[in-house]
Symmetry: C2
Subunit: 405 residues, 2 copies
C-alpha cells in the first residue's frame, strides 16, 4: 500500500504545530509528511512587535525549522507557495510543484487596509521577521538623521500606530520602553518624540473589560503614549497621516506609520478559488473545508464562528495551536483508515496583553490581572508554547525569564 502524502503549507503556529504533532504521533511507515515554508525558520508572530520596537532581537523570536523537526520524519521544503489546485491535489510553488493526498493550509494573515488612501503604500505592518526588523531600522534611521539636518523635521520623531487592539497596544508599550534609549543614542530630548496611537473604535482594546482598558491606557499615557480614540485614519502619505475625530480633521507629520488595525487571511487562498470571508476559509467542525474532504485549514487561514456571540473567533496563536492538535489527530485517524473525525472547539484559557517589559493586563480564567503579575503570566504563556514546540532545550534557548527586569 502506498504511503499517503501529507503536505502542510506554512510554518506559522498552526502549520508548525501540526507538523510537530504528526511527528510525535505518526510512525515513519504511515505517511510522508512535508512542510513547505518560505523561510528556513518558524517565528512567533506574537513576539514580532518587540522586534519591531527594537526591545527584543529577532533571533529570539525565530526558530530554525530543522532544529525542531526531525528530518527523518518530516520533510522540509523551503519554497514559496504560488497557488493551490485542490481539484488536481497539487500545489504550485516558485520552484516546483508538489502533490498531496492530504493538505493542511496554514498560510497566515496579511494586512487589511480597508482601502484607506496611501496606507498600503506608506504604512509598515508587523507581519514577519523581515518587516519587523525593517520597522526597527526605519525608526532608528529617522532618529539618526534628525540631528544631521539644519531644519529639524518633526516627522522623523513622530511615530503613529494605527489601531489600539491587541497588537497596537503591545507595540506602543514596547515603543514607550525603547524611545528613551533611542533618544540617548541620538542626543534627542525625549519630549521631542511623540508616540501616537490612533483607534477608530470608541475604546482601546475593544472586547476587554473596561477596568483593564483603563489601567492599560493610564499606564501607557504615563509613559508618554498619546491616544486618539474614535479617530478614523483618512490618508497616509510618505510624511504625514490624516485622521478625523469628532468631525475635525487633524494632520500629523510623520515618516513612520505602523498599521496594526486589520488583518485578513493570506490572499493566495482566496486566489486559489476557496470560498473565503476576508481571506479566511469557513471550515467544518473537523477543520476541513466544505468543498474538499482532503483539505484542512489551520490558524489565521481558518474561519470558525463563536456560537455564543455568533461572530468569528479572532485569529490568535492560542487557537491556532489548539487547531493544530485537532488537525493532526484527524489526519492520524484518516491515515489509519478511520472515519470518525473529531470536532474542534477552542478553549480560551486566557488572554494577556503586554504593556512593555514589566507591565501587562489580562484575563486568565475569570480572573483579571494587572501590572507585574500579568507580565509574568504573559511570559509563562510564551514559555509554555516553546516547551510544547521544541521541548526543554528550546525553552532554555529562547524562553523569557527576565521577570525581575
Amino acid at each position: 500500500m502506498k504511503k499517503p502524502n501529507i503536505v502542510i503549507l506554512g510554518a506559522g503556529y498552526g502549520g508548525m504545530m501540526t507538523a510537530v504533532n504528526l511527528q510525535k504521533s505518526l510512525g515513519v511507515n504511515e505517511a510522508h509528511v512535508t512542510l513547505v515554508n518560505k523561510h528556513s525558520y518558524h517565528y512567533q508572530t506574537t513576539w514580532l512587535h518587540e522586534n519591531a520596537a527594537g526591545t527584543l532581537h529577532h533571533d529570539r523570536t525565530r526558530i530554525k525549522i530543522n532544529e525542531v523537526l526531525n528530518s527523518g520524519k518530516v520533510n522540509f521544503v523551503q519554497d514559496t507557495v504560488v497557488s493551490i489546485h485542490p481539484e488536481e491535489k497539487k500545489v504550485k510553488m516558485a520552484n516546483g510543484d508538489i502533490e498531496y493526498d492530504y493538505l493542511v493550509i496554514g498560510l497566515g494573515f496579511e494586512a487589511e487596509t480597508f482601502g484607506i488612501s496611501g496606507l498600503k503604500e506608506h504604512a509598515f505592518t508587523i507581519s514577519s521577521i523581515n518587516s519587523a526588523r525593517l520597522i526597527r531600522q526605519h525608526i532608528e534611521y529617522n532618529f539618526a538623521k534628525y540631528n544631521n539636518e539644519r531644519e529639524k523635521n518633526q516627522e522623523r520623531l513622530n511615530i503613529v500606530v494605527g489601531g489600539a487592539g491587541f497588537t497596537g497596544i503591545e507595540f506602543v508599550g514596547e515603543l514607550a520602553n525603547r524611545v528613551p534609549e533611542l533618544c540617548k543614542e541620538y542626543d534627542i530630548p525625549r519630549e521631542q518624540v511623540r508616540i501616537i496611537n490612533v483607534e477608530a473604535a470608541p475604546t482601546a482594546l475593544p472586547g476587554f473589560d473596561p477596568a483593564l482598558v483603563e489601567y492599560a491606557m493610564n499606564s501607557l499615557e504615563a509613559k508618554g503614549v498619546e491616544f486618539k480614540i474614535g479617530a478614523m485614519i483618512k490618508e497616509v502619505t510618505p510624511n504625514s497621516l490624516v485622521f478625523e475625530k469628532d468631525e475635525q480633521r487633524e494632520e500629523i507629520p510623520t515618516n513612520t506609520v505602523v498599521w496594526a488595525a486589520g488583518v485578513r487571511g493570506n490572499s493566495i487562498v482566496e486566489a486559489s478559488g476557496f470560498e473565503t470571508m476576508r481571506g479566511r476559509v469557513k471550515v467544518r467542525e473537523d477543520m476541513r473545508t466544505n468543498e474538499y474532504d482532503d483539505v484542512f485549514i489551520v490558524g489565521d487561514s481558518a474561519l470558525i464562528i463563536n456560537e455564543e456571540t455568533d461572530r468569528p473567533y479572532p485569529p490568535t496563536a492560542q487557537i491556532a495551536i489548539q487547531q493544530a492538535e485537532n488537525v493532526a489527530h484527524n489526519l492520524k485517524t484518516l491515515v489509519r483508515g478511520g472515519k470518525d473525525l473529531e470536532g474542534f472547539t477552542p478553549k480560551i484559557q486566557g488572554t494577556v496583553a503586554s504593556l512593555g517589559h514589566d507591565d501587562a493586563i489580562g484575563v486568565v480564567g475569570s480572573k483579571k490581572l494587572f501590572g507585574w503579575s500579568a507580565s509574568v503570566m504573559k511570559k509563562v504563556i510564551d514559555n509554555r508554547y516553546l516547551l510544547k514546540l521544541g521541548g526543554f532545550g528550546l525553552l532554555m534557548k529562547k524562553g523569557k525569564f527576565n521577570i525581575f527586569h
Copy 2:
C-alpha cells in the same frame, strides 16, 4: 590689572588640548579661559570611521567636555560659531557674542568635493559623531530593506568609498569586519555585498612605502574589498556612482557613497576674512596668523609647510596635539608679559593605519610595521592620547585594550 580673556574656538584635538594645557599651566588669577564648542562633547576624529562602520560605538569615541575640563579653570560655552571679527576682537555665535584678548581658532575640517557632480548632495562624509552614526544606520537600513522588496536592489548592498588615503583605507578595513555581521543580521549572502574603494591617484595610500601599500591592499582584498585605483569619480546620484578609469566609464549602482578623499579647513575661517588656502590659514612659526598678533590657529585650520618637501603637512591629530602644546606655551608667555614666543616644528613619531580590528600597517621611527604588531601599536597611540587628555581615569574608561580580540 584686568585678567586677559583667552577664547578657544572648537574642541577638536587642537582646541581641546590647548584648553587642557592651559588648565595645567596657568593659574586661575592669570587669565579667563573660555572654550566654545557646538556640542557638549569632544570626539576623536580618528576613531569616527569605526563608528561609521558600526564596529565601535560612538560613545567610546566621544568624551564629555566637562569630564575633562575643570570648570573653575576653563569656562565652557556650548554654542555654534557664526563668524570671527578680528578687528573688533569679537566672535559671533548663534546665541550671543564673545570678546577676546587672545583667540585660538581650532575649527577643524570640512569635506572638499572638488565640484564633482552630485557628491556634495548625495555622498556621506565621516566628519562628526552625527554624520558617523548616520552612515552606520544608513548602511544598516539598506540591508534591512533588501529582503523586504520583491525586486532585489543591488544598490542597497554596494558600498562605495571615495578615496584610498588614510581614512578611506581605515574605513573599508572596518567595513570588511562589519559586513559579515550585517549579512547575518539581515539574512543576506556575503557574496552579494560589494565594498568598493575608488581612488584617483595611481596608488592606494599615497605617501606610504610601497611594501606597506601592497600588504594593505592584499589584506583588504582577501577580506572582499575591491579597489579601483587611478579611477576618477565623475558623478554621484542618489542611487549610483560613475567613475572613469583607463578612459572607460563605469557605473556602480549604489545608495551609499562615503567620501573620504578630500578635506579643507572650516569655511567659517575663510568667510571671516582670513587669508586661506583651501580654508587653512598659513601661520607664522609661533602659530599666529600673519595679520593678527592675538590670533593663533591650531589643528586642521592651520597650514604649515614641511620644508623638506615644500608641501603642507597633512592635517593630522598628531600635529594638532603638538601644536596645542606650542600654542598653550606661547599664550602663557604672552599672558605673563613675555615676548619670546616659541616656534613650532612637528615631530612625526609614527603613522599607523588600521586595516580592521587586528590588522594594520605603519611606520614608527624608521621601522615598518605589519599586521598584528602594527594594530597593537595603533591602539598604544590612541591610548597615549587619552592619557594626555584626561589622565588614567579617562584611559581606563575609553581606551582600547582588546589587543587579543
